[in-house]
């Protein structure tokens, strides 16, 4: 759907595509998250009206699931896999080094809105452990030393947020 349709109409289109069934709430939120990389408050208000659901229930769902974020995400999304397989291959040291170099805590977005660093429990590429995703692209067999190189890749990676 084109980017320029104003947000309220866009949300209505998404809700309508699910016939405003209240059970499709999570899917609707996922499409809004996909579109705007976060869930704007006005969108939740709109969904509450259109799907006749209490705003408190929607807010509960929006804050429960890790796939949703109420704050806008950074231009680049860096996901460090902290699944067990990667953990035993010391993904913890890579995560801590990324936090140091990118000056952003896990689960947060950098103040300059450039980078969002998040942890994910297993992306299913355990052979490559420890693995880091930058805007959806996998980087495997990492050691703490290579984190510096990784930070460069993040800086000049052209693609905007898509994951």
């Amino acid at each position: 759907m084109s980017q320029n349709t104003p947000m309220p109409e866009r949300v209505d289109q998404i809700v309508a595509s699910y016939q405003a069934r209240s059970t499709a709430l999570i899917m609707v939120l996922q499409e809004v998250q996909q579109e705007y990389s976060y869930l704007p408050p006005e969108a939740l208000q709109r969904i509450s009206e259109r799907m006749d659901l209490a705003l408190s229930q929607i807010y509960g769902v929006a804050t429960f699931y890790k796939a949703f974020s109420l704050e806008p995400r950074g231009k680049h999304l860096v996901s460090v896999c902290t699944g067990t397989a990667c953990h035993v291959r010391n993904s913890q040291s890579i995560l801590e080094r990324l936090e140091r170099d990118l000056h952003v805590e896990r689960g947060q977005t950098s103040t300059d809105r450039e980078v969002t660093l998040e942890t994910v429990n297993c992306v299913g590429a355990c052979a490559l452990g420890p693995v880091v995703l930058i805007d959806g692209k996998h980087y495997g067999h990492l050691t703490v030393g290579e984190v510096e190189k990784l930070v460069e890749v993040i800086r000049q990676c052209p693609c905007s947020v898509q994951h």
Binding site: S56, Y59, T63
Partner: protein, 584 residues
């Protein structure tokens, strides 16, 4: 639902299949501690404090939560095994390590035998029991609250942690919150006590006051949550006799009756317009009805005479004839004030050590034993001043804070006086109900200039009216005290009964008759009749006389421009014949 037999701590009980084990234990008087259970919302089983051991027929035991474990045939419930107690204690200690030490937790700790929680206490005041969320959702139906986030960050909030416009300020969450984490507060930030909330959860259904007649609870639609959100109806669910229905609506009913006794009473004169007395402006200036209410044991002060600040007054002034015998208000004397004023004086003397000042114009103690009562009051040391209270002002700096000065002219001592008192009781006039005129017109009786209904005859017919079958009782006919009102009431009832007993109305032969052919429907006669005996038939467009009400005075016959009305026994031709006879 089929019944099943289970045992709780070895004691057998028969319960409905699928009903929760907690209720069975309660029925047996066995106490199972709970934290997140509330009878009228669905069990949530989040606190796990109510865990018990359940042993099924095959002897397998497992730990289950009593609040939502369904009873099935033959299960044995053990509520106090070591394993159960250990689990409850540790769970509570873990909760206390996060939450501040609050009565609900320390009480439960005491019950479970924890004197010192292993990890001490924390700071949070929310124990995440979810009672608020569930009551707002299942009972109130406003769904203003909800859980947000998950795991150890889970907390209760309104969306986006800002004031929610779904909240209807009913205070149910605050009332139910076991720890006081949720408080009700005015926009200005002042804490609000539940009883003050207009929509307070103090039950929108209650007996209005102790002696209310009928002495039955009634629902106040302005405060009932159901009428705000369509939810709740807990009262209906709880009432064993199911006599609560929320869809009753006010409706008018037409009663076919032959006799009516009007006993519509009076209303209190509002002294506010009389600025000189400062009612509503000065503190502790109250009307006699308010003073009477204060003295009532079921009243707000439990019968004690107290000022607004809760202390006992040192001196009280009782001002007679406020709004009565007053050209600017009601010229008539309200008859009852003198005697209740004396009663007030007696009450003050009996209950407090306050000085009492009675300011009267003429003390009318006319009834049996009244005069003797007046003398007894004098002996009790009541200061009686013959002079109407003219004005009440605040005491100056020289008087203690809150003193009121009663300015009046003591006509016996021929002096102007300014009496410092702490409280002033205004004996306000009895005035006719604001809708007296409408009621009168509806019942075809007339109202005097002072608003009281007019009786058939001031001396000979005080309980009946010019309209047959309509009787008067009580103050609506004129101010009177209780003995007189009772007497009049009995009289009215007796006369009404006399009509009702006979079952039919005895009419004498004479009454007026309207000839439809001649009547032009000008309706001139309709207002002529003082007994509103002449009605108008919309379909035939002619007037007609109700013989039962017609007194045969003939006024209508004389007034009818087309001569359509014949007054039987005094018909026109009869009178003409008389004239012809005496002049021939």
């Amino acid at each position: 639902m089929p019944k099943v037999n289970i045992t709780v701590d070895g004691r057998p009980i028969e319960v409905e299949e699928g009903s929760y084990v907690l209720q069975a234990a309660e029925a047996l008087g066995i106490d199972i501690p709970t934290l997140c259970f509330f009878k009228y919302v669905k069990p949530y089983a989040a606190c796990r404090i109510c865990v018990v051991e359940a042993r099924d027929k095959r002897g397998r035991t497992r730990m289950v939560t009593a609040c939502n474990y369904p009873a099935s045939e033959g299960i044995e419930i053990l509520t106090r095994t070591p394993r159960v107690m250990a689990a409850r204690r540790l769970n509570l200690e873990m909760l206390m390590s996060r939450c501040a030490s609050m009565p609900v937790l320390t009480a439960l700790a005491g019950k479970l035998g924890i004197d010192q929680p292993r990890w001490g206490t924390g700071t949070d005041t929310c124990i995440l029991c979810g009672l608020c969320v569930r009551v707002c959702d299942e009972i109130v139906g406003a769904q203003a609250l909800g859980f947000a986030s998950r795991g150890i960050d889970r907390f209760v909030t309104t969306p986006f942690e800002v004031d929610s416009d779904a909240c209807i300020l009913c205070g149910a969450c605050a009332a139910l919150c076991p720890t006081g984490h949720i408080r009700m507060e005015e926009a200005g930030g002042r804490d609000v006590v539940h009883s003050e909330i207009t929509l307070g959860p103090n039950a929108a259904i209650a007996v209005p006051f102790r002696q209310a007649v009928p002495n039955a609870p009634r629902i106040d639609p302005d405060f009932c949550v159901h009428f705000r959100t369509g939810g709740c109806k807990v009262c209906a669910a709880v009432c064993p006799k199911e006599c609560i229905s929320h869809d009753d609506v006010e409706r008018f009913e037409d009663l076919e009756v032959g006799t009516v006794v009007l006993a519509t009473g009076y209303q209190d004169f509002d002294p506010t317009p009389m600025k000189q007395y400062g009612y509503g402006r000065l503190p502790n200036v109250i009307t006699s009805m308010e003073f009477e209410r204060m003295n009532n044991a079921a009243g707000s002060t439990g019968g004690k005479i107290l000022m607004e600040n809760g202390k006992e007054p040192g001196a009280i002034a009782i001002l007679h004839c406020i709004g009565s015998r007053d050209q600017n208000a009601h010229p008539y004397c309200s008859r009852v004030c003198c005697m209740y004023a004396l009663k007030f004086a007696h009450l003050v003397k009996e209950k407090t050590s306050a000085e009492v000042y009675q300011l009267y114009i003429d003390l009318r103690a006319f009834g049996k034993g009244y005069e003797e009562f007046f003398h007894r009051i004098l002996e009790e040391g009541v200061n009686v001043i013959r002079g109407k209270g003219a004005e009440i002002v605040r005491g100056g700096k020289e008087y203690p804070e809150g003193t009121l000065l009663v300015r009046c002219e003591d006509t016996l001592a021929a002096k102007f006086r300014e009496i410092p008192v702490d409280m002033v009781v205004l004996c306000t006039a009895l005035e006719a109900n604001h809708d007296a005129k409408d009621v009168a017109r509806r019942f075809g009786i007339s109202v005097g200039a002072d608003g009281w209904f007019i009786e058939r005859h001031p001396k000979l017919g005080p309980v009946s009216t010019t309209t047959d079958g309509v009787f008067l009782a009580g103050v609506c006919q004129s101010p009177k005290d209780i003995p007189d009102a009772v007497a009049q009431g009995s009289g009215a009832a007796a006369q009404a009964m006399s009509l009702m007993i006979r079952g039919e109305v005895e009419m004498d032969g004479a009454y007026a008759v309207i000839d439809d052919e001649v009547c032009s429907g000008c309706r001139l006669c309709n207002d002529l009749c003082p007994y509103s005996a002449i009605g108008f038939d919309e379909t035939k467009k002619t007037s007609s006389v109700n013989p039962a009400l017609c007194k045969a005075c003939g006024t209508c016959a004389a007034g009818c421009p087309s001569g359509a009305i014949r007054a039987l026994h005094f018909a026109d031709e009869q009178i003409y014949a008389e004239i012809e006879g005496i002049l021939s």
